[in-house]
Symmetry: C2
Subunit: 117 residues, 2 copies
DNA sequence: AATTATACATAAGAATATTATGTATTGCAA
DNA sequence: TTGCAATACATAATATTCTTATGTATAATT
């Protein structure tokens, strides 16, 4: 039993796909479990992706043509590696810009003094 | 028909209550419609709160004890004014901190170079 | 007189998450 | 060698929170 940081839960909504696309752009080729470990690691347990959210999101991104998937056998186990399609490559920057723009607008509301430039 | 900025839609999830609590802390006492106009104004149409999201959120925050509500007659029309309860006052900073922490973690993922400090 | 803005509310539906469960392999420690 | 934790995938039931649509009604503008 470890202390779970609760605040990552509701806020995560809507940004999971952006996370997936970004880490895949940065690292090229990853499998689902690897993505969860990577995100957990660089946020120091701050963001913990649940499998019930991750796998459906990966499947949807693949179905929408943003991701390419290939299965690979590691010993007797099968991993599903994902990478960005061309469409996915084009979408990453846009997704990140959307997130940044959203955050800027939130700063206007949450920190009106400091963010009015 | 005006151009709606699409990216505010999905990303908004989870942050509406934080917005409501924050603007009420800043302005003291507001009614629902006023909140939508205020947010629309300071974000220059960037964030547009829909009534279908706002009113249920206000009702929930009231039911949870974060907000106090009182109806006021303006001419023949009735406004419902909201203000922070004591519990609401205590929750604002926490909510904002949660959002900021979430954004910081997202920066680690989306902008690893610049945010590693 | 008709349209837009103000002001509230709720219902149907969609999207996206949590939690729980299931299967199966691999590695490690008791 | 046995059992537990970690790895690796997947899906179903449920919850939350949003969008869109609809409804009611007053006030202001064109």
């Amino acid at each position: 039993m470890y202390n779970c940081i609760m605040y990552s839960k509701q806020l995560l909504k809507g940004s999971l796909k952006t996370i997936i696309l970004t880490v895949l752009k940065e690292r090229g080729r990853m499998y689902g479990y690897e993505i969860t470990q990577h995100v957990k690691s660089i946020t120091e347990e701050g963001l913990v992706l649940t499998e019930g959210a991750l796998y459906p999101a990966l499947h949807k991104l693949e179905a929408e043509g943003f991701l390419l998937a290939e299965k690979e056998s590691i010993g007797r186990r099968v991993r599903k590696y994902y990478s960005l399609s061309e469409k996915g490559m084009e979408a990453v920057a846009e997704k990140v810009n959307e997130f940044d723009a959203f955050v800027q607008m939130m700063q206007l509301i949450l920190h009106p003094k400091t963010s009015k430039s």
